[in-house]
């Protein structure tokens, strides 16, 4: 699979065999990161250390130490639809991240265009009606490393995503408790992280008032039955089902109701996409209207067969994986074993809710020995299917091309 976990730790000989950049990679791998994997990024550099050095985290792909960018190793997605907390990917913008959170002292502010300013303790938050929802959290730039031509940014393979059962309260209930005044336009969310540079733009994101009050957007204090890992936003994190993770503000401690559209850097400039189908433009194209990234789009992945793997010819082979519909549920998943000429419907696994990963499986038999390409395509409940052509934009956002996995029948 493109971007799947390709091979295990690289040998020193392999690394030394790569002129120039490989020597650099060796010299710049932190001492605490041991094994290395190859993410298969076109043109490289493709090797990344595997690290267990981060708190509350198992073995993760090290994309950046500070502030942490940790990618979920792809084989984790074959284990089930829920991504374990200690293998859930991590992404921070600024390096000033509190390393200590005292649950007695923590307060969530609700302020701005409201009738009553609130400062809620965690006890008060947990006393609100409890809701649970399975939802995929995916970085806007998941799979950026596969963009061609390549673009700058976090050079993720496909592991900047995860699915959890979120436990918390409705944002609507919190807003209602403060009492939103007439004329409210957006709601802005801020967390405990801070810019390293004093005049740098603090990371904040906003949702339209109707979206914020839709009863689905949550403030989560639980993730898969436990409190959130600190690096995933302990103690509170916004959950915006169906929307990219940039809106899922971590360590949420400040909610401000605005009577005007938010024009802060992280809404107006960063995390914007071309206002075109699939956020797709030609490399170098300019003068395109840009809008804030928003709803996710469908994707499907094979999780049990890796790129280049050999299967038996003329024999039934089981293939399975995960899919998600983006901003709605999975309607169907189709598999092709002939490079997209013909398709067969996969069998869908248990429905954990429309915003969740959904497992699928199918069986195929390759007619003779030779090279083949498996392709898997998700169509969501709105009838939106993954495109055959990869999109391109300068930020490397919203990739959802049909995944192709070259295999060999022998």
């Amino acid at each position: 699979m493109e971007g799947g976990y390709i091979g295990g730790p690289l040998t020193r000989r392999f690394l030394l065999g790569q002129a120039g950049m490989a020597g650099l990679a060796l010299a710049t791998t932190p001492a605490w990161a041991q094994a290395t994997i190859d993410l298969g990024l076109p043109g490289g550099p493709s090797a990344r250390p595997i690290t267990t050095a981060f708190p509350q985290k198992a073995a993760m792909i090290l994309q950046r130490s500070r502030p942490p960018l940790l990618e979920t190793p792809f084989e984790v997605f074959d284990k089930g639809v829920f991504t374990p907390n200690n293998e859930f990917y991590v992404r921070w913008h600024w390096a000033v991240i509190p390393t200590e959170v005292d649950v007695d002292k923590f307060r969530l502010a609700v302020r701005g265009h409201v009738n009553e300013v609130l400062s809620l303790s965690l006890q008060q938050v947990l006393a609100l009606p409890r809701v649970e929802m399975a939802a995929v959290n995916q970085c806007s730039g998941n799979s950026r490393g596969f963009f061609e031509p390549r673009v700058a940014g976090g050079e993720w393979a496909n592991g900047a995503m995860g699915n959890a059962r979120w436990i918390g309260v409705r944002l609507k209930d919190v807003l209602d408790r403060a009492g939103v005044k007439a004329g409210a336009v957006q709601v802005r969310f801020n967390g405990l992280d801070e810019p390293v540079v004093s005049d740098g733009p603090d990371f904040m994101k906003s949702l339209d008032i109707d979206h914020a009050r839709d009863g689905e957007v949550m403030i989560a204090y639980g993730m898969n039955g436990e409190q959130l890992p600190l690096l995933n936003g302990f103690p509170l994190r916004l959950v915006v089902p169906g929307w990219y993770s940039t809106y899922w503000v971590k360590m949420l401690n400040d909610i401000e109701v605005l009577d005007r559209p938010d024009d802060n850097y992280w809404m107006k400039t960063a995390y914007t996409i071309p206002d075109t189908p699939h956020a797709d433009i030609k490399p170098g194209e300019t003068g395109v209207k840009m809008v804030p990234i928003n709803r996710m789009v469908p994707r499907a992945f094979i999780t049990n067969i890796k790129t280049g793997e050999t299967v038996q010819a003329s024999a039934p082979t089981l293939v399975r994986g995960i899919a998600f519909g983006g901003d709605t549920g999975v309607a169907r998943v189709d598999l092709s074993s002939d490079g997209g000429e013909t398709w067969q419907a996969a069998e869908l696994g248990k429905d954990e809710g429309k915003y969740s990963f959904r497992q699928w499986e199918a069986r195929f038999a390759l007619p003779a020995k030779g090279n083949y390409t498996l392709m898997v395509r998700c169509t969501n409940s709105d009838g939106v299917a993954q495109p055959a052509q990869a999109n391109w934009n300068p930020s490397g956002f919203m990739r959802n091309v049909i995944e192709s996995t070259p295999i060999v029948a022998a």
Binding site: G43, V197, S198
Partner: protein, 109 residues
């Protein structure tokens, strides 16, 4: 792993009228203290003084070294973004040295 969980500081039991009687697992929130590792790595090779002195305050070197080869104009744009959008305090002469380093290290073929 350099991690220490504080003693149980607060146990919050979310028992509500709406779920009374249902045997749901309860979430308890405990204070957390962690240590975050830093790579401590520097940019290697000649011409690396400016990038080491200016860039590592905000992010570790690996972020840059994991980038693909890009045209010099793309590196110029990245450095400008760091200064203009993210307010990195970089002097004008260091800008040129940083861009030159990146362009030589990560030049598009």
């Amino acid at each position: 792993m350099p991690r220490k969980m504080l003693p149980l500081a607060l146990v919050i039991v979310a028992v509500l009228a709406s779920i009374a009687g249902r045997a749901e697992p309860l979430i308890t929130l405990n204070s957390v203290t962690v240590d975050l590792p830093d790579s401590g790595r520097m940019f290697p090779g000649p011409g690396s003084d400016a990038i080491n002195n200016n860039c590592l305050a905000c992010h570790s070197a690996g972020m840059v070294l994991n980038q693909p080869a890009l045209p010099k104009s793309a590196w110029q744009a990245e450095v400008s973004k760091m200064i203009q959008s993210y307010k990195a305090p970089v002097s004008e002469e260091d800008v040129a040295a940083i861009v030159d380093y990146l362009a030589s290290m990560k030049a598009a073929r």
